[in-house]
Each structure stands twice: as C-alpha cells, then as structure tokens.
Subunit: 644 residues, 3 copies
C-alpha cells in the first residue's frame, strides 16, 4: 500500500478564477486526494428539481485535470431551506422536546420518511452525474453522523418508526408484533407499565423519573439502526452508478450508533481527527492531562480511534479530516505545538491509514468556521500547518509501500455495551455524569499503550480470534453465548469485568447470576458504586474507583482489595476484574494479564508512545519536552520511524 | 406495644409457584407484615372495567394462610397506560412547561378531576374486594406522595383548580371570590399586577423575573391542599369497606406538602427510610460528612424523620420501607457497612416505631430498580441484609413490650415556613440554591442530638405544650397569634429566630416590625444575607452564616457578634436567635437554652447518638470506628440497649 | 451646575393620608426630586380606556406643593393584566422558546406592534395630562430596558420584524430586499444555508449547532434597534405635550442594546446604581474582590457606568436609583458598610452627576421587593441610609456650583463589539461562559483607575478626539474606516487589540488580514484561545490570558511573550496589544501607553480611587481599612474632597 495525503476543498466558497491555481498548489504540495461537495446541496439544486451542474462539472474537471483524485460527498447533512419548508416536521427533537431547526447543519431526523426520500433523490442525481467521471475516485456519504448529538431524536417520526421497529423485534402473528412478549421482556409488570398495543409505546424521554432501562436500551438500538439504514440507502443508490469505494467520515467518541454495523455497507472507514478540540470537549482526561497536552492532544485518543476505525473499515481506513492548526469550536482553541501536525499524520499512518486529508485547504473568512485554520490563510498565504504537511509528503515519497500486521492484543469495543452503561449508570462519576463505558475501555486501552503495545480493536461480532494471545473485553454488559463459547474455546487469555456479562439481551439480570462464564466459578452477589472520595484500596496498590462487583465463588483469587474481598479472579481462559481500576491498578492488572498470556511489554516513559507495524516501528513523543528511553533521546513533539 | 418486622412483596413479579415458599421463608425469618399491591393496577384492571381478581385473591390467601398480615396498597401511583390514554391531559407539567408523561411512575397531576374519579373507582373496587379479607390488616394509600418532585404541577388543571381554591381563600359574594381582597392581600398594586377576576390568575412559573411571593406562597399552599384532599378521598372510600387502619408511606425531606394535614385523615404514618441514598441525594450534609458516613448514612437524618412522622401519625408510625443493602437511584450507591441494617432498624424502634418493613423481599431482575437490593438476591439466595434482619427478629422476640414517653424538648416543624423560605430565600447558600428552612431546623435538631437529647417534633397547630421544658421554633416565618399566645402563657422556654414571625399570613412584613412577641422588646430593623466566605463571627465563638437579623430594642442581650450587635436576645419566655448559627454556635446556643430551661444534656462524642424511651436507653454508634464514652466502649456501627 | 438629591416614591402604595407628611420629610431631608408613576398603569387605567386620574393629580399636587420637582415615568414596563389579555402574543419568548409571561414586570416583546400601539396610547394620555403640570420637571421612559434579559425576544413578532429589518439592511428593488446580497454578506453558501426569500429567515436560536455568526450579529443589531425605536416613539409623543427633559434609567452591565443610540433621543441619561447587588450578580470580579468588597461594592464598577452614561447623556446624567441599604435580588444581600451610601453618592457627583436619587423612599412591606431597603423602614422610622443621605444633602448645601472637565484619556465603548464577542467568543472563560468584551474593556478601565486617572468614555461614532492625549479602544472587533481615519489623523496615541478591527461589518474576516491600520505594519496570522491554566507569560511580567493574536509584520515590537512572539506592537499612532493581558500586564501596558502619550499617572494604593473634575479632586477609599497615600490617611469607606 502507498500512503497518501489529501485535503478538503469547497470550490463553491471561492471565485472560480482561483480553482486551477488551488489545484496546482495542492499537487505541488504532494496531495493525492481532494474531498468536495458534501455541503453543497443549495448550489447543486438551488430550487426543488432545478439542478445547477455546471459549476460542479467544472470543479471536477479542474481538479481531475490537475491530477487530483476526487472524493465526492453526498450533501445530505445540509438540506437547503426549501427542503425544510417542504417537510416542516423533518427536524429532530431533543430530549426536552425542542425542535432542532434550520440554521446550521445536521438538521434532520433519521426517521423522517419524507426526508429519506429527498435524500434518495439527491444522492441518485449526484451518483448518476458523476459515477463515471474520470476524476471520481471515492464517495463519502453525508458528513459526521451523530455529530452535535444528532443520532437520537425524540420526534413524532421517530416515535412511529420506533413502534414499527419494536414490532419487528417482538414479532407476532401477521404484521403486528407480540405486545405480551415485549411486556415480558421488559418487565413492564413493574410499576404497571404494561402496554396493550405497540401504538401506546412512547419515547423514553420526559418521564417522571427514569424510564425502564429496557425501554431506553431498545430506543438506543433503534436509533442506531436508523443510522445504519439511512446510510445503507445511500450506498445502495451509489452502487447503481459507480464502482468507486464508498466511505463515511465518522467522528471521535460518538458512541450512540454502531459504527461496525454502518461500516458493513462500505469499503472504507474514515474519521475526522481533531486532537486539540477533542482533548477539550470529549476525551474526558484529567485537568492535569488537559493542561500538559493542551497543544498536543491526548497521547492515546487518536490512536484509539485509528485502531477502532481500522476495524470498522475491515482494514481499509483514512483520516478524512486532520486538524492543521487551531479550530473554532472547542471550549478553548489553542494552536498546535510545532511538529504536532506532522506527528498526528504519521501516527495515523503508523496505525495503517491509507490516506490523511487535512481540513481544510483554505480558511473560510465567513460563517461558522471562519476561525478554523486551513493549510492556507484566508488571504491564500501559507498557514503554519502547510510546512508540516509538506514535510510528511516528502517523507512519504521516500518511504516504502507497506502492509498490515496483526497485533498480539485485541480489545473488544461494543457499542451496545456503551448504550447499556448509558441507560443504567447506577451512579455518577466525578463530573456528575453517569459512568461511561467508553471511559472504562479507554482506561484499559491507555494502559496497553503505556506498556508499549500495538492493539487491534475488534467488534463484538468477532468469533475467530486466531493469532491473538490476549483479549480484553472490559465492561461488556451483555455477552452473547456465541461469543462466550468462541472465547472459551480459543487459545487466548481473556480479561473481562467489571459488569462483565451482567445483563440479558433485554437488559435484565440473568439467573444464574453473572458472569456465568464457562470455567470460571465466580458470581456477582451485588454491586456498589462509589463516591469519588471513597475509592477501595487494593492490596497490591492502586484502587477500585466508581464501581465494585462483590464476588463469590471458588475461582482463584489473583488480587484482593484491602478488605480482603476478591479484586481479580481467574478460571479457564478468563480473568475477571471486579471493579473499575484506577491508573495505577489498571496498568498492573493489564501487565499481569500480558505476562500470563505471554505478551511481551515495553513500558513507555512519560508521553512516549510506540506502534509497530509489519515493517516499521514508530515512536511518538507527545510531550513538549524530550524524553529518554533505552539509551535514545526523543525530541519534543517528535516522530521516530525505525524500519524493521 | 409489641414491635414487629415486615417486608414489601410483589407477587405479580414472580411465578405463582414460589409464593408459598416465599411466605414460609418470611414467617421463618420472623416477619409479621407483608405489604403488597401498590403498583399492581395493570394486573388488577388490565382493561377499563375488566378486573382480574384471581391472582390477588390467591396471593392474599397464600400470605394470610402462612400467618402473615397484609398491608394492601391502593395502586394509584401507577395508573396503567390505558388510563393515560383516556385522559391525555392528566399529567403534571413541570415549571418549564414540559409534560411529565407515562413510562415510570407518579405520572399524574393531583388537580386532574378525571384522574381523581378514576382513582376513586379503583380504590373502591379494591376496598370492596378486600375490606373484609381475614389477611387484610392495614391499608396504604398511593405511594410516596411528592417523590420525584411531584407535588407541584403547572398544568391547566392545576391552574383552574388554583383559581377555585383562591376564590375560597378570598371569598366574596355568591360563588365568586373577592378579587380586590386578593389584590390587597398580595400587594398587587406593586408592578401593576392587579387582577380584575380570578380567571386571570396564572401559575407563578415562567414569569420574567421572580413572581410575587404572596402568589408563589398561595400556590404552594394550594398544591399542599391538593395532596390532602386527594388522600382524604381515598380514605373516605376505604372506610366504607374496612375497619383496618390506613397509612401512607411518606418520603425523606419532602417538604412541599403539609404532612400533618395529610396525616390527620389516617391512623398511622409510615415513611421510607433509605439512609445511604438520602445522604447522597438530599440530606445536604457537608462533603466531609458524606464521605465519613457513605456506608452508614447521616447520624441524625433518620432520627429526625422518625420523630417527625411519630407526630404526623399522632403517635402511631412505622418504617414502611427500610433499605436492606445498596439502592439504585442515588448519585452513588454503596453497600451498607456490616451492622447498619440492624442499627437502622433499632433506631426506628428507639423512636417508637411499631413496625419496620424491609424493601424489598427479593431483588427484581428487571425494570428500573433491578439494582436495588432485597432481602433475597434475584436467584433467591440470601442477600447480606437478611442476616441482620434475622438478628433483629430474634432480639425483638426476647424484648419486652414497650410504651411511649414524652421528650423534655419539643421542636416545631412548620411545612408552611418551609414554603415561605422557598418563595423568598433572599439569597443563596453555598450550593447556589436558596436558603432552606429544613436545613436550618435540621441544624438545630442535630445540635439537640449531639447533646444526647431525645426530641419530640410537634406541629405548628399545637397549643398544649404541657410537659415540655424547652421548645425550639427556629425560622418560623409566620407565627399565628394563637401560637404566640399559647407559648407565652406556657411554662416552657421558647427559642425562635432567625426570621422569627417575620411575615403576615399573606407573606408581607407586619407593622409593628417583627417578631412582635409578647414580653420581648426587640424588633428586626433590617436583614442581610451573607456570602459563604463572609460569616459574622460571634464573640463567644462560632459564627452566623447565610442570614442575619439586625436587632433593635431593650430586651436583654445574651450574646453579641464581633461587631457588638445583638446575636441572641431574651425576654419573657423567648430567646431570639438573630442569625443562622454555624455548627459551633448552634451547639452553644442550644446548650445555653437547655441550661436556662433546666434540661439536662449529655454531650455525645463523635457519631455516638442516644435515644431514651420510657423503658430503655439506646446508644447508636454511626462511626466506622469504636468510640469511648463515660467508661464504655461502643463498637463501630453498633447498637447498645440498656433497659431502665 | 447645582448638584441635587432625590428619591423614588410610589404614592399608589400608601394611604393618601400620609402623602403630605412624606413630602414634607423629603423636603426636610434636603431632596429636590421625586420620581413617581413608572409602575402605576393598573391604577392610571384600571380598565381599557377607563382612566383614574384623581389620585395621580392629587399626588402631583401634594408633592409639587411641598416644593419637590417630579420626574414622571411612563408605565410601559408593567402593562396590566388586561393588556396581556388583549394581546396574548405580546410576550417575549426566551431562547428555549418558552413564553415569558405575566406576573412580574417587563413582560413584553419590543417587536409586538399591538403592544407598541398600546404604549403610544398610554404615553400620550399621561403626557397630555401632565405635560404642563407645574410640578412636572422631567420624564422617564419605561424602566430599565434590558433588565432581566429582556432585550432579546425569540417571538413570532420578533421574527417577522427581523425579516422586515433585514430587507432594509439589504435593500433590493421595490419593497423587498435583495436576498442574494444577504446570502453573500453572510456567506450562506457555507453549509447550504442560502435563503430564497426573507420570509424563510428564522431567528438564530434552537439550531443544531451554532448559527452563522453573521446571522446572530444581525439579530443582535436588530434587537438593539427595536429598543431604540420603542423609546423614540415615546419621546416623540411626550414632546408634543411637554418641554421637560426626557430620560431613561439604564441598568449596570446591560450590553445588548446600543445605549448611545437610545440616548440620542433624550436630554438626560440616568442609571440605577446597586453596588452590592451588582458585585454579586454581574461585575464578574474575582472571588477575592467579591469577599473584600462585599459591603462596599466594586471600586471601579460604578465609576465606569458614571463615565459611560455621561457620554450616553451627552454630558447630562443622573443616578436615578441609588441603593440605600441591602437589596433583595442578588445571590447574597448584605448591608452596606457605614459610610458607603455617602461614598457612592459623592462618587456619582465626582463624575459629573446632576442628581442622585435614592431607591426608594419607604421600604415596601409587600410583593417582590419587600426586603429591599428604603430611606425609611416599612414602619416609617428612619433606616440606616437616611442619615448618610442627610449628610450629603448638608455637604451639598455648602458646596459650590460646578462645571465639567475633559479627561486626558478617552476609552471607546462599543456595544456592537460586545455583540460581536458574544456571537463569536471562540472559547470560554474560567466560568465556562464565552469571553466577554465588557470584561476586557473593564480590565483596561480598572487599570486606568488604579493609575489615578480620570477617564472619558466615548462612543464609537466619535470622530473629533480633540483634547485627548490617549485613546483606548480594546477589543473593538469592527472598526469603521471613518474611525480609523479620524484616529490616524489625530494627535492622540491609540491603544487597540486584541481582536482589533478583525471583522468586516458583516462579521467576516477581512482580506488583507486585520488589523490593517494605517501606519502599522502588522497582521494577525491566526488566533488562539487559552485554557485558564495555560496563560502565556510575558517577558516583562504578567501574562496573556484567554486570547492571543499571532502577529506578523515589520512594526516595532514593544513587548514580547516568553516564546519571543510579539505581545505589543507600535506604528503610527497605534499600539496593538496582541492578547488579553492579566491584571499585572494590563497595568504596565496602560502605564507605558500613558508615558508615551504624555499622560501623567498617580498609582493608587489598595482600593483608593481618585477622580478630578474641573474644580475638585475627590478621593474615595473603598476599603474597610484606612489607607496611606502621599502622607495622607484616608479612612475606611471615606470620601475626601479637595477643592482646586
Ligand atoms: Zn468536520
Ligand atoms: Zn419506595
Ligand atoms: Zn430598579
């Protein structure tokens, strides 16, 4: 595989007279890809049924003639005003019942049938027009599903679609569902919540106290499925007109739809990587980490998503938008430390990216993102990120083709578990928000990175774990019997817990009590959630925070807490972690698991990180200071690449 | 009186095949009572007018035949979906105008006439069916009035009922009220808020700035009266069919309806005691107290409610729901320290409870409370609390019958004063919320407990204070002339203030200025509220926090602040505290008042607490460590009972 | 000019029998002015078209006959209930879409045509009745525009008016606007936000993510213009019947309408000065300042507004409401330190006030403000502030007539810049709210005060800066070319930045890049916003916080940051500050600018402040302790007046 670079470009934002020069500068910089079109609906179809193809035809030609390969986006994330006028009820409603209206982007409800039809029409028009264009090299559907909290809508359209979806989940005779089956599955006898028909089922918002977690989880699953089918509809249409690969640009830490399921329908997964913005608004790092990495980004957050989207893309993945300077939308928007744009780019390639595209070519002087840096300033002079992109382009030109390589460790990331934690957090974290599955998994991932390991993230649908020595599946609240069996039968060691396998598919406590894993005689007798100032010390150091599973059973106890209660138990292939370990504890627990599994570790000093591919070893120093490791010195914000 | 135990059971949640075994295990454990039915409307009346009595008949028989006595709940806290479909406007609206809909519980507005009729119908059906059943031993109306902030509704039904209620408060000729009287009473000339008719009066939410406090207070009183009449309606119906005592299970720190007024219509008051959940979500204790008592609960909060509900029940009271392990609904849900379930149970008996029932028999594996512990686990094995319940049952079996005893100190708790503080806090506490009457009274109560005293809480309607040496009435903003007279004429000393008698019934400042108490030449010239970091030091130690009354007058000054202003003044039977004393100050001020009144104190070390009845002295150590007191050692989480 | 005192009086609140005595006591106290009527609509017109003039006629006569001069308010801030019944849609809607209804005050939307007609009618009736009354000496329109966040309304009326306003901003052929011009000006091609017609334009609330800042800024400007035209309508009517000067009583830190534009239509500007309430709820001072000045008020906040409203009033200004004791509406409401009522009064006169009126004469015992102190208590005894008012009256009686004097330093305050910062804060401050223009300007103003300087605040429309040596215009995001030219051509030095001249009128980034000031070769290449814990140290001490402009260009660098980047640059008349300086840095930067401009400074110790007029020098010590300065001792909470 040849590694390549690209950028995001908006010909409709600029005088047509400078398009050719822009294209030439892109090529001169060493870019391969240019993504266009994903917000241009009002220019493609300025009035219902009236298309203006001329400008886009010329843009495709100019870019293609310059030697660039075009990724064309479907413009469905930004329906024009006239679409909204046609379907006044197409908007999502938030949990408080407020309309999320026109005036920015992503102003649609995934469940609105009228809007879906409108999307099918515009996608077909675009696909038909450009499916065979010589510059057309790939597709992008929509833009950043779920961004701005747009997966879940509490609209009437969503309610009706949810009822229909539930009929399918609890099928009965004929076209209707079996409402009794739903009532039993959800335990609706509790508090007399039983329904007589599917028409009576509402959305789980604006209830007096918390809704039934089974109800809430079903709504999360439904909402995820709506994204899947919305995207599948676009893919099916595009394929009628084009053989080019289809992708979507996912975001960071969006967990409310199943990216694996969406990714099934496409050839490539891409994501939009904004290390500084994300550190401020979603990583969830401590204040100390936020301060220390304010201009570098979290040392593990991008890597996690690279590994995640490699799995979502079934091996093929890109960074579709890479932050090249300060952004505009985070609580604080500092400039990157010199070197970081290059570092971020190489970190993506180290994790197997096919391409990294910078967002955006030229900073827009108008509208919402006018303070979002580009490779060029608004006056077309070079911005600071440009030189670093140029460096990478030159380095890539001299680098060999590369292939992939399996990591020794797999981490299961389960979107459904994230939903389960969200609907039943059973307590708050330090910030008052409910305990988060993502945060738990990321703590384990960070420990693996601190041990110098390369990691494959895998889907919970995985059944073939050949080649892995250790599998981590922390916090996976429901475990399919097929998965339990596959893991039990494998040769890898498996780390699970806390809350391991603690729920049925319908969000009830199973009897016999969890985790009920073959070969592990251990059960969770009760659980407790902990105040931030009441951690439970572990005898070997560190603590359990937030959560504890109180264990019984005859399985071997590997660690105990200071009260003598089991903290880690072992049996069969399984290692059950009976609480949420803090940073000290998680490092030791993962290290021990590695040792037991025969996985060699190389603990990293400071913010140095390591990633090994089949042919290269990369070292990334995220710190603003140099770091020493095994006789070598790694400069601040530096990339070191050893060829094997 | 024989002290007894019980539990809360939901036959409709379990296979009928295990009912008999459950009943037998309850009896074996030593339980007397089993509460059932309070959420079972959808099973009793699955469709409008279609009743399914079979299962409940059998459940009553099985439980009764095992020797248990049944407390039967009316199911009106959980109307089924079909009721909500019949009355789509039956829901409460919150202060922001959002519907609080179906999907959990307590989804009704107390003012909705259609829902009231529906309640009357189901209550009559249940009362008629089981009023004479041999197992039926007591009734419970509805469940936890006010829980989940459900007393106050801003619905159209509430508005119309409020207007009618106001006509009664300001009666005029014929059926209409005297709108001029209301305008004068409220001072509506201010800001041209005068009404021409009662139809114009809205609810005091969604105003541009704060509403008239007279308006807001009237709405609070109305909302309280709606609970009273809703409950009275159920009692009146039940009494037609049954002689068994009627109770309601109140909650902790619900202050927005007058429990004394609701209690007037019933024989027994009960409450639901969740010491760990409450410490996290409503006690209002400092972070230090929350951390230290995370697994024990606040040392005084349960005692306060025991004393309060003894008064509400006119001497007869129970704990209807006692936490037996971790709960599911608080911000953090730790497990109790070993010994605490026993301690909590005995503390209730020490305050005169007739019965303590554990919530619930078996942990439900489904729906909202699936992580709420029971005496049994979901797999029917014994949970941790079971053994402690068994200990108490055995101790009770050997304990004598007991009677009541009057305490030397009375504390007036005035729900109307709580409303007055809420509508006119005149400043914020450290948490940004308005200053709270409950918090003030609880500070005084805690001081009494720290002095080793037993306390009687009494209603503001009390006029006969015979037997008390000292009466505390802190923060009582309006004092009826009858009460002033009764107290002045009594032999007990009376502590009042801050904000003592500072308002007329209609929430205006009286002239002559307050407190205007017979025999006390003192008046409040102005008031001030204080930043948390600007306490006013007192010359004898401690400070006034939050609030200060600036005093004038010739009454004797017992204490001054560091600026020389009066802090405590005395005259006649009265002792006026001119500010909100911090923990150090309140202990001294109460101690001095005790000394003056001839009440002997016994200061408690640490979290040791003492309660004296006519025949026993109890010692409760809420600490996780042992404590020494007068040559004795009290173990952690221990109960010590001395028979007099 | 003779300096005078007054008070605010509500004859409708009191028994007519005491009016004469009240008036006599006012005169005895030494008051000149009495403001009445501004909330009395329901008494003037109790029913539609039915006027009750009798009581107001008598009140005017009683007050006038006592020798007082009446300021008569139009009652439009408090429409009676019957007005609201006539126009059920007259209320403002908040940004969440909730109606801000009847029950307090300011319950109207400025854009509602029906309510405007109603206002015109009542204003005309009052003006006609009293325009020639001998006691009538001045008018006040409405009351505290913008108070309680009432400038901006998201109502349907506002939407329709906004569309009309936009047609005027982007005029086209005939009566319609040019929607293409608007689309181009706003950059609506971004995210396909293009409109086909003005009818499609909504208000910038409830969008999925942030709205276009051009859209948001236009709505802010529109909302401001609505206040201007609402007020102008009243002035135009009053002038038909009266020659008396017209005023409005503005509030503290209301920045969402252009007070200069409103002030253009009136003879006098007044404001309502509540130093203790404002310190708690809007100054934005540090917790240390809030604690230290809890009973004195911020040492600079009142002065700032005195200087601001002197400009708004084109030289003529009053304090219409002066806090005389504790208020009722702030988060904490302490009593002023003895001496502060006198100090606040004299500070106003030191800044050129013609009159200071105390709010209010007698404390109201009823309704919303019953805990707001007056000069009299509710029982008509003297409250604490009365004696201090009497002192000032006596001092004034002995003081000479005074004139005005130009200060050496001018500070431009630009309401439009405040709107621009609000719609594009590009990051949060420590409190999580967006960065605030007012806060930035106030930091510079405070530095000028700490340097002992008197300051003139001037409008951004100013073109003649004769007489000033130094002009400060920090944070002025858009600078009109006329202003740039006038300043460049003047003899004064000018300090600008950060964000200086960084936007076009329509809120886009100009090319060439900003600030593009004649004579200053410097441009902002990019900007960054900073975490609170990531300040950028300056080489001369102090730091940039919140904001940094990354500068390029050949202009002289006066200061650098610790990374060597330019912090202050100079060229022509200009001095560009490339970041938000903290307290240490702003003092030095302003001091240096003063030195350069030949402005002599006299640094103040502690909370001592100095104000020089043409004939007097005043010293105000805001501290609770005495302070030493140049051999003199200034007592706590003291005023010292030196006659020149
Ligand atoms: Zn993006
Ligand atoms: Zn309960
Ligand atoms: Zn005012």
């Amino acid at each position: 595989m040849k590694r390549t670079l690209g950028t995001c470009y908006y010909p409709e934002h600029w005088d047509e007279a400078i398009w050719a020069q822009d294209a030439a500068r892109m090529v001169e910089l060493g870019l391969t890809w240019v993504r266009i079109g994903e917000f241009a609906w009002s220019r493609i179809e300025p009035a219902p049924g009236t298309f203006d193809w001329g400008w886009l035809d010329r843009a495709m030609d100019v870019l293609g003639n310059a030697g660039l390969r075009v990724v064309l986006g479907t413009p469905t994330a930004t329906p024009p005003r006239w679409v909204a006028d046609k379907y006044p009820d197409m908007f999502a409603l938030d949990a408080e019942g407020r309309v999320r209206g026109f005036g920015s982007r992503r102003h649609y409800c995934f469940s609105h049938e009228g809007y879906r039809a409108e999307c099918a029409r515009i996608v077909e028009a675009v696909a038909e027009r450009y499916g065979a264009h010589p510059a057309l090299a790939a597709w992008q559907t929509d833009n950043e599903y779920g961004c701005h909290d747009t997966t879940i809508s509490y609209s009437p359209a969503a309610r009706e679609a949810f009822q229909g979806w539930l009929r399918g989940q609890y099928p009965g005779a004929g076209n209707d569902g079996d409402i009794g089956a739903l009532n039993r599955a959800w335990g609706n006898v509790f508090w007399s919540m039983e329904y007589d028909s599917f028409e009576q089922i509402g959305l789980p918002n604006l209830t007096v106290t918390e809704p039934n977690p089974s109800h809430a989880l079903a709504f999360r699953r439904f909402s995820s499925d709506q994204v899947v089918s919305f995207n599948a509809l676009q893919c099916e249409i595009i394929r009628r007109y084009s053989d080019a690969p289809i992708s979507h640009n996912y975001m960071g830490r969006i967990t409310d739809f199943d990216h694996f399921a969406v990714g099934e329908d496409m050839e490539i997964a891409t994501w939009d990587s904004y290390p500084l913005g994300f550190l401020e608004d979603r990583v969830g790092a401590s204040v100390d980490v936020q301060r220390a990495f304010s201009k570098q980004g979290d040392p593990d957050f991008q890597a996690f998503h690279h590994d995640l989207y490699r799995a979502v893309g079934k091996g093929r993945w890109w960074v579709m938008e890479q932050q090249p300077g300060p952004v505009n939308w985070a609580p604080h928007n500092p400039a990157p430390l010199p070197g970081m744009v290059r570092l971020w780019t190489w970190e993506a390639f180290a994790h197997g990216a096919e391409a990294v595209c910078y967002f955006r070519w030229r900073q827009a002087p108008f509208a919402q993102e006018q303070l979002h840096a580009g490779l060029l300033r608004p006056d077309s002079a070079e911005a600071a990120g440009m030189a670093e992109a140029r460096s990478v382009a030159q380095e890539l030109a001299e680098a060999p083709d590369v292939g992939g390589a399996q990591a020794p460790v797999a981490l299961i990331f389960d979107y459904d578990a994230d939903a389960a934690w969200a609907v039943q957090p059973q307590g708050n974290g330090a910030d008052g928000a409910g305990l988060s599955y993502f945060a738990l998994v990321f703590d384990f991932y960070r420990a693996l990175r601190r041990l110098g390991l390369s990691v494959d993230i895998v889907s919970p649908e995985t059944r073939d774990f050949a080649g892995y020595r250790l599998i981590l599946a922390p916090g996976m609240m429901h475990m399919d019997e097929g998965l339990k069996t596959a893991l039990s039968a494998g040769s890898a060691k498996v780390l699970v817990g806390p809350r391991g396998a603690c729920k049925t598919f319908d969000m009830a406590i199973p009897v016999p009590l969890p985790p009920a894993l073959p070969g592990l005689d251990a059960e969770v007798s009760y659980v407790e959630t902990l105040r931030g100032d009441c951690p439970i010390a572990l005898e070997n150091g560190g603590s359990f925070v937030h959560w504890r599973d109180a264990m019984e059973g005859s399985a071997r106890v590997l660690e105990r807490d200071a009260n003598g209660a089991p903290a880690v138990m072992q049996g069969g292939v399984w290692r059950y972690v009976a609480g949420w370990p803090d940073a000290e504890a998680v490092l030791r627990i993962v290290w021990d698991a590695c040792t037991d599994a025969g996985v060699e570790v190389e603990p990293m000093p400071g913010a140095l990180r390591r990633r090994e591919t089949g042919s290269e070893v990369f070292w990334f120093n995220y710190a603003a200071e140099e770091v020493h490791h095994e006789g070598r010195i790694f400069g601040p914000a530096s990339v070191t690449r050893d060829t094997l």
